[in-house]
Symmetry: C2
Amino acid sequence: MIPLSPADRECLGRARVARLATASPDGQPHAIPICFVFDGASLYSAIDPKPKRDPKRLRRLANLRANPRAAFLVDHYEEDWERLGYLLLHCRVEILEAGAERARALALLAEKYAQYRDMPAFGEGPVIRLVPEGAHHWTSAGG
Amino acid sequence: MIPLSPADRECLGRARVARLATASPDGQPHAIPICFVFDGASLYSAIDPKPKRDPKRLRRLANLRANPRAAFLVDHYEEDWERLGYLLLHCRVEILEAGAERARALALLAEKYAQYRDMPAFGEGPVIRLVPEGAHHWTSAGG
């Protein structure tokens, strides 16, 4: 991983939603909104269970296995365009199907999002680990 | 382009910000937040001028020229997870450097976003046209 600035770490700690862009090996882009947690080094996001029942989710995981790179975006939009900003992280992706790191990530996700604690199927699917390898921070204010 | 449902068209007409995912020809994903306008068939977004001074922007345009495909995402997040949703459009991308279509798109953008009307450099850069070729609509409520 790369070192992140205190401002970037604070941004990752505060954000409730991010957007994850992936691509098939032949370069077809894909994007979804995701919930995630940042443990200070990596980002973790739970994949909904039952992917076998959903061809689109199966394909997304297949894409990630074949091309384990992602762009992770946290941004801020408001109508005052002096206050726009985003943090883009280029990440290496690992899919955690089992094990202690996956269990720890699920606990962190449930700690951050109360919503997960009420979901019976939470924790049944894989967890993706995103390891930042490049960061680009931009604000309209130039900060 | 593909036919979009009335709900999807309404979503595109209302949204103020979207996220655009692209990929380099070898599959490195990229994502940025964008402002855009929907004319009922295509989506248009203005690229900031002065790309020659910004190597990252130059690379982004080079990526789009080499791999003119994008994923265009409009989503809704709130803490009530019964009310989540997104619209993902797989798009073909065209870069408009000049001409009547570019001028019309800039006029539509300035009509939608008052912020552009006060920007001296608005309209100096290229405009990208996104032609939807596939749509995926999801809501947590199943609608």
